[in-house]
C-alpha cells in the first residue's frame, strides 16, 4: 500500500488534463449516456416489457420497465469507467506518449495512475448522473432514495476504473482488449441482473452471477431507484469495497511495472 502514499495532489493535474480534453468535444461525448437509456427503455422496456409483463422484486410487483431501468445505470457505470481506462488510457500511454511527457515533469508515475483512476471514476459519475436524469424523465426513479446512485457511481467507477487499468497494464496490444471485453465485460453486462433477475438462472450460474461485481451494483441501483431496500445491502457494499481495494492495489502495482522499465 506504500504506493498509494506516494500519490501527491499533483495527480489532479492528470485528472484535469483528461477532463479538459473530454470537454473539448463534450457535445459528442455526452450523446451516448443521453441516448443509450432512451434506446434501452424503448427496446427493452416498451418492446420486451409488453411481452414479459410484471416482475416481483423483493416481494413487490414492478413493471419490467421499472425493473430494467436501473440496469442501464449499472451498465453506464461499468462501460464508462472500464472503456476509459482500457482503450483511452492505452492510447494515451502507448500511442500519444502522454504519460511519458507527464513523467518528465515533477509528477510521479503514481500521480499519473491515480489521475487516470479518478478520471475513470469521474466518467462513471457523469454517466450515472445523466442516465439517472434520463430515467427520471420516464418516471422510473423514486426520490430521494434515487440519489444513492451518485455515490454508487463513484464506488463502481473506482472499481471498474481500477480493473481497466489492471487490464491496460498487461495487454501487449490495443487489440488484446477484445479478449477481456468478451471474456469478462460482455458476460457481466448480460448476466448481472441488469435485464432479468439472476434468481431465474440455474443454481450454478446464479452463484457465478453473485461473484460478478456488476450484480451488486445493479442490485443497489435498483433498490435506490425503486425505493425498495434490496437484499443483503451490507454484503454488497462490503464486497464492492474489498474488490475496489484489491483492484486498485493491483492496478497501481501492475501499471507501475509497465510504465517504469
Amino acid at each position: 500500500m506504500s504506493q498509494l502514499s506516494r500519490i501527491s495532489p499533483r495527480a489532479w493535474h492528470v485528472w484535469r488534463r483528461d477532463l479538459d480534453v473530454f470537454f473539448t468535444t463534450w457535445k459528442t461525448n455526452f450523446l451516448p449516456p443521453i441516448l443509450e437509456p432512451v434506446y434501452y427503455v424503448l427496446a427493452f422496456g416498451f418492446g420486451m416489457g409488453g411481452m414479459v409483463g410484471d416482475l416481483t422484486y423483493q416481494g413487490q410487483t414492478v413493471s419490467y420497465l421499472k425493473f430494467m431501468g436501473p440496469g442501464v445505470i449499472a451498465l453506464a457505470i461499468l462501460f464508462w469507467a472500464y472503456f476509459e481506462t482500457t482503450y483511452s488510457s492505452f492510447v494515451r500511454m502507448y500511442y500519444q506518449k502522454t504519460f511519458d511527457a507527464i513523467i518528465a515533469t515533477p509528477l510521479l508515475v503514481e500521480d499519473v495512475i491515480a489521475g487516470e483512476w479518478f478520471w475513470g471514476a469521474t466518467k462513471s459519475l457523469m454517466a450515472g448522473a445523466i442516465v439517472l436524469v434520463m430515467l427520471s424523465l420516464f418516471g422510473l426513479v423514486t426520490y430521494p432514495s434515487g440519489l444513492v446512485v451518485l455515490p454508487l457511481s463513484v464506488l463502481g467507477g473506482l472499481l471498474f476504473s481500477a480493473q481497466g487499468l489492471m487490464t491496460t497494464a498487461v495487454v501487449p496490444k490495443i487489440d488484446s482488449f477484445n479478449v477481456t471485453t468478451f471474456l469478462f465485460v460482455f458476460p457481466m453486462f448480460l448476466f448481472s441482473g441488469t435485464f432479468f433477475p439472476i434468481e431465474v438462472l440455474p443454481r450454478w450460474a446464479f452463484w457465478i452471477a453473485e461473484i460478478l461485481p456488476l450484480t451488486h451494483i445493479s442490485n443497489l441501483a435498483r433498490g435506490a431507484c425503486l425505493g425498495i431496500m434490496p437484499s443483503h445491502v451490507a454484503v454488497s457494499v462490503i464486497y464492492l469495497l474489498v474488490l475496489t481495494a484489491v483492484s486498485s492495489y493491483l492496478a497501481f502495482r501492475w501499471m507501475t511495472k509497465r510504465l517504469v522499465k
Binding site: R10, H13, R16, R17, D20, A101, I102, T105, P106, L107
Partner: protein
C-alpha cells in the same frame, strides 16, 4: 496549441496567470503566435517541433536535453531552432543535444562528443577537432586517371580512396590544391573547408555500419 502549453505548465504547479504570460511569450518566440489556437493534428512537423521546444521551456529549465531537434525539418524551421538554441545558450541554459548532422553540431556546440557504435571516438571543441584531426582544407577528386591515382599514392599527402573518389586532407590551406591544379589542370575536383563530418567519417570509417 496554447492550451497544450498551459496544461503542461500545470504539471509544474505554475500559477495560471504566469503560465498564460509565458505561453504567449514562448509561442511568439518560436513564431507560432498565429497558430496559437490551432488543433495539434493540423500542425506540420516543423511546427510541432517548435511547439515541443516551447513546451520544454515552460518551467524555465537550467538544462535542456534535445534529441535530434531538427531531423526532417525544412531549412527555415531548422535555422529558427538553431537561432533559438543559441539564444538559450547566451542566457546561460546548458543545452545537451544529440544529432546526426555534423553541421548542426559545429554550429551549436561548444563541446562535442563523437560517438560511433556506442563508443566515444573523440571529444573536444568542433574547430580544434577539425584542425587537429583533418586540417584546414579538403580536396575531393573524381574521374581520376591512373596518373592521378599513382601521383596521389606516391605524394605522401594524407588521403583516403573511397571507390571512385579520392579525398585529400590538407593541414594548411592551398598546398595540395595548388599542386593538383598545377599538375592536373583538367582534373575534376572540389575544394572545400574541412568539416566535422570529415573528422567523423575519417575516424569512424566511410563505409556504412549497420547496427
Amino acid at each position: 496549441m496554447r492550451k497544450n502549453l498551459l496544461v503542461y505548465a500545470r504539471y509544474f504547479d505554475i500559477p495560471a496567470a504566469v503560465a498564460r504570460k509565458r505561453a504567449d511569450e514562448l509561442l511568439d518566440w518560436v513564431q507560432l503566435t498565429e497558430k496559437a489556437g490551432a488543433d495539434l493534428h493540423a500542425l506540420s512537423g516543423g511546427m510541432k517541433r517548435r511547439l515541443v521546444l516551447a513546451r520544454a521551456l515552460i518551467n524555465e529549465p537550467k538544462v535542456l536535453v534535445l534529441d535530434e531537434p531538427t531531423t526532417g525539418l525544412d531549412p527555415q524551421a531548422r535555422h529558427l531552432i538553431w537561432q533559438r538554441v543559441r539564444q538559450l545558450q547566451q542566457r546561460g541554459v546548458t543545452v545537451l543535444l544529440t544529432t546526426h548532422y555534423m553541421e548542426e553540431a559545429t554550429q551549436l556546440c561548444n563541446r562535442v562528443i563523437l560517438m560511433h557504435g556506442g563508443k566515444i571516438l573523440l571529444e573536444g571543441a568542433p574547430a580544434s577537432l577539425i584542425e587537429s584531426e583533418v586540417g584546414r582544407e579538403v580536396v575531393e577528386l573524381w574521374n581520376c586517371s591512373e596518373a592521378v591515382r599513382s601521383f596521389v599514392a606516391a605524394s605522401g599527402f594524407r588521403h583516403e580512396v573511397v571507390e571512385e573518389r579520392i579525398y585529400l586532407y590538407d593541414r594548411e590551406s592551398g598546398t595540395i590544391r595548388s599542386e593538383i591544379e598545377r599538375r592536373f589542370p583538367d582534373q575534376e575536383r572540389l575544394i572545400r573547408h574541412a568539416t566535422l563530418e570529415d573528422v567523423f567519417l575519417h575516424r569512424a570509417g566511410r563505409s556504412l555500419s549497420e547496427g
